[in-house]
Every structure is written in C-alpha cells, then in structure tokens.
Symmetry: C2
Subunit: 299 residues, 2 copies
C-alpha cells in the first residue's frame, strides 16, 4: 500500500530558548500540529533541560546557546524579556542565514530595541506576543492547547520581510491562535492597561494582605472567596517574568498607573464624604464593559 506522504513541516529545525510555561507550550503546540522536523530546547536551568527531553517536549536539549541555535531555521525566545538583548548578542554569530527569530514577550518596543541591533542582516526578526498564560511556571506547566482561540499579536519592525512575517503568522494560526498585527508602541500601551496594571495591582493587594498580622492573615485566606481569591491567582504569576515586564514597559505602565491612582483617589474621597451618588454612578457604568467582553466572546 502507498503511504500518505507527510507534508513538509513549516520549519526544519525549531529552537526554543527558554523552555518554561510558554516555551514548552509553543513546542507542544507546534509538535501537535507537525510544524517542525526537529525540536531543540535551550535553557540555562539544567532541570528544565532534562525535563524538556523527559516530557517529550524536545528531541534535543542543551544549556549551550551556540549549539542550540546551530542550523535552526526558527528560534523562539521565551525567556523573561530583560534577557533577550544579551541572548541575541550571544546567539547572533551562530544563526543560520535566512533563519527567523521570534519571541513571546509581553513587551515589544524594548525587546525590539534590545534584540534587533545584534542580529545579522540575513536573519529575520519577527516579534510576537501570544495573549495566553497561566499562573504556573516551568516546562511541566505547558500544554499544547494554551493558544487555542487566543490572540497572538505580531509587531513587525518597519523593515521586516513580508515573507517572514507571513510565516510567523501562519505558525500561530496553525497552533490555533487568532493573529493580529500591531505597532510595537501601541501594543505596549494596550498591554499596560489590559495586563501589566492588573498584575501590578493584584501583586500589590496580595502584598498588603501578606503584611497583616498572623490571625488576620489566616482569616483573609479562609474567607478569600469573597473577591480576594481572584487577585491571588494573578499574583501567583512568575516573579522574574513580571519584574522584567515592569522594568521594560516603564513609561506606559507609569502613565496608566497615574490615571488609575487619580480615579482611586476620587473613589476614596466619595467614600470619605459619604457621596453615594458618585459611587453608584461609577459602579453602574463599569457593568457595560463586562457586557462588551461577553459580547466579544472573551469572557
């Protein structure tokens, strides 16, 4: 009997630098869809290197960046955004001509500014950001379905190769994601509002509770279902990843934080003055946004 010929995968050799929650999820999603011939994991944490092979996430794994990227036609940067510039500098001399370098970071402008100058002219840099994740970390936490029906935002630099951009878009679509293209600076402002500020606030309020005396803290844990619990899930996200997000999207985060603080001060004043009309008016209009999210099928 004739065997059905396997279609040629999108990439021959895909290399993942950083094989944590997101890196390992991309590898799994690509493998499920048959998007690469060989999967190579690279991580400075030796436990992650071992786990990547043991879990079947990668065919080969190493802590050596030069070896990892050698011969790869796709390189996915999936480490905390603050490390991307230095990694680009280290891998640059070892990159294959025509290779595509992409990333998954929550900040785009600083990553482009840090990575692009190091890369050879015959290598294509196409930054991307999948809007997906969980509060868990490490290669064990990844799963192939993470990006299904979620957005992935591509923020191509001005002189990016249209072919390379199309290939990265295809990569995300084949992993089940919906693809959007955005200017890097605009991306950083949108994410400052939808993601970075919510995480900062969740981290802060959970920290405020952590500082409470022992008995009160125990009761906060016991009665967390009344609202607090939702914040603790967000505030359990990876600390180093988030440190780097705030350090690398400083301007946009500080701008939106300033607006939030002004609004919070207005709420505080209304409570202090017993101004029920202001409180009710404010609380009523926020319901509309929830309805819009439900209508947009994002709830």
């Amino acid at each position: 009997m004739a065997k059905a010929r396997k279609p040629k995968p999108l990439f021959d050799r895909a290399c993942f630098i950083g094989i944590g929650l997101i890196g390992s999820s991309v590898a799994r999603a690509m493998r499920r869809a048959g998007l690469a011939g060989t999967y190579v994991a690279c991580d400075k944490n030796p436990k992650h290197v071992k786990a990547a092979v043991k879990l079947g996430v990668a065919d080969e794994a190493t802590s050596n960046y030069a070896k990892a990227v050698a011969g790869a036609d796709l390189i996915v940067l999936a480490t905390p955004v603050g490390t991307n510039g230095e990694i680009a500098r280290v891998i640059a001399p070892h990159l294959k001509k025509g290779a595509i370098v992409t990333d998954v970071g929550s900040v785009k402008r600083m990553v482009i500014d840090a990575v692009a100058p190091h890369l050879p002219k015959d290598v294509h840099f196409v930054p991307a950001h999948p809007i997906a994740g969980t509060e868990h970390s490490g290669p064990e936490a990844g799963f192939a379905e993470l990006f299904e029906n979620r957005w992935s935002i591509i923020t191509p630099p001005k002189r990016a190769s249209a072919k390379a951009v199309a290939k990265v878009a295809e990569l995300w679509r084949k992993m089940g994601a919906k693809v959007d293209t955005m200017d890097p600076d605009h991306h950083d402002m949108v994410l400052a509002i939808t993601s970075h500020l919510p995480h900062l606030i969740a981290y802060t309020i959970v920290g405020t509770a952590t500082d409470l005396s022992g008995d009160l803290k125990q009761e906060v844990i016991k009665y967390s279902a009344s609202g607090f619990r939702d914040f603790t899930r967000i505030a359990a996200s990876d600390p180093i990843m988030w440190r780097d997000v705030f350090l690398n999207n400083r301007e946009a985060v500080l701008e939106i934080l300033q607006r939030f603080t002004e609004d919070l001060t207005a709420m505080q004043r209304a409570i202090r003055k017993g101004d029920g009309a202001t409180l009710e008016g404010h609380f009523a209009r926020t319901r509309a946004i929830r309805r819009s999210i439900i209508d947009a099928k994002q709830a």
Copy 2:
C-alpha cells in the same frame, strides 16, 4: 401502607425581604432542604414580586412589608445594607413574638446599629453573612447550590439568645454552608480586606479603562484575557449593593485602602527607579498566599 411522617420544618413561615440574587438563593436552598412550611417573598420591585412566584421561589409574594412579615417566624433581610434600618422600623410593629430576624449583608456593625434599636424585645436579631455570590443580580440569578461548602459568618450581638443563634447556624448548615461566629467589628475588617477593597479596586480599574478613547477601549475589550477580564467580572456586581457596602463600612475600607495606596506608591517608585530587586522580592512573596489558599481548599 403507613406514610413516612415528614419531619417538622425548622420554620413554619419564612419571609424574605428582598428577593434578588441572595434572597432568592436562600429561599431556593431552604426549599430544597425543606426548612420552612411556607415561603413569602417581599420586594419593593413589582417585577421581582411576580418573578418570585412564577419561578417557584415563593408561595406568596407582596410589596407590602407589614403583610409579608405577619405570622412569620423567620425574616431574612436581603436588601442593600443601607435599607435595613428603615425596613426594621417599618416591620417592627408587625413582627410575631419570638420571631427570628436575620440578614445576609456584607457589613455587620452598621446593620446591627441600624436594625437592633427598632426591634421589639421579644424578637431575636441574629445577623449573618454568607461568603457567596455572583456578579449577576435579580431573582432569576439565584440558585439553591450557592452556599454549598461556602462560609456563612454569624455575628451575634452581645445579648443575643443562644437558642436563636443556634437555630440560624442550623439553618445555614442545612443549606450546605460551613458556619463561623465572629465579632461584628472584626468581621467588617476581615471583609474590608478580602472583599470590599478588591471590589473597589476592580471597579476603579475598569472605570479607568472605560474612560479611554474609543479605539483603545475596543482593544482593551479584545485583549482582556490578559488579566483585565478577571477584574471586569468583579466590577459587574450590583452597583447599589456595593454603594451601600462602602457607605456602611467606611472606616475599615479607608484604613485598608490607605495601606494599599502606600504599597502601590512603593511599587510605582520601584518601577520609576528601575529597582528590579524590590519588584522581584515583592512578586515572589505573594505566591505563598496563593499556595495557602489552595491548601485551605478555598481556590
């Protein structure tokens, strides 16, 4: 054949003042467990009165407080907390001797101070607060399972009848809840942290996003899955209920808000100064609280 004799229900006639999400859920949960002979709904909203009977939540329904409480041996106040004092004044002359009045409010000290002085000496007031709810409102939104495995906190005034307190505790246990007893002022501080501040912050950040220009607002809705979405659910809760919570738990909310604001200012400073060590240290310790909540089976 001899019929199995039905056990006598805990109450002959239960009256629900306010038949929204919580009031109708208590009625449904009581009915499911067979805790009352007759169910009477009272609501100033004529639509709720009609719905209560149509949905089978109540046997009788009226907008007349005096008629509603006549002959009832259990009265459940389930209206926004700011209304409880006035309702107590209106129903007081019509209450049956020995009746138990309870409530479900998120604030306890102000409710006790507003309600207790109106009630006759031969009526027992046993305030309670079930730590359960959803972002939906109205009698249609209620369901019998809402309180299963959730905490209900009873905050008996100093001279409360032990028998009446025990009966309200039994009522909650038979609806599937776990019961705790707490001093009213302490309750108000615990809830300010676990519930009131998280709701205020969620309302504020969603309000900040509502103020954005049209295009940016659409993108915030589109990419809400990145953290913002969790806040919008909380900020879709009933505006009048929450207005009353903040007006009636002012001191505790302002105290905990003050601490939160100081902590947020410290985070803001760390971002502005590029102080990664402070950010990482803060983000790392908040993970521990999430683990405690998971260990306490509240996640």
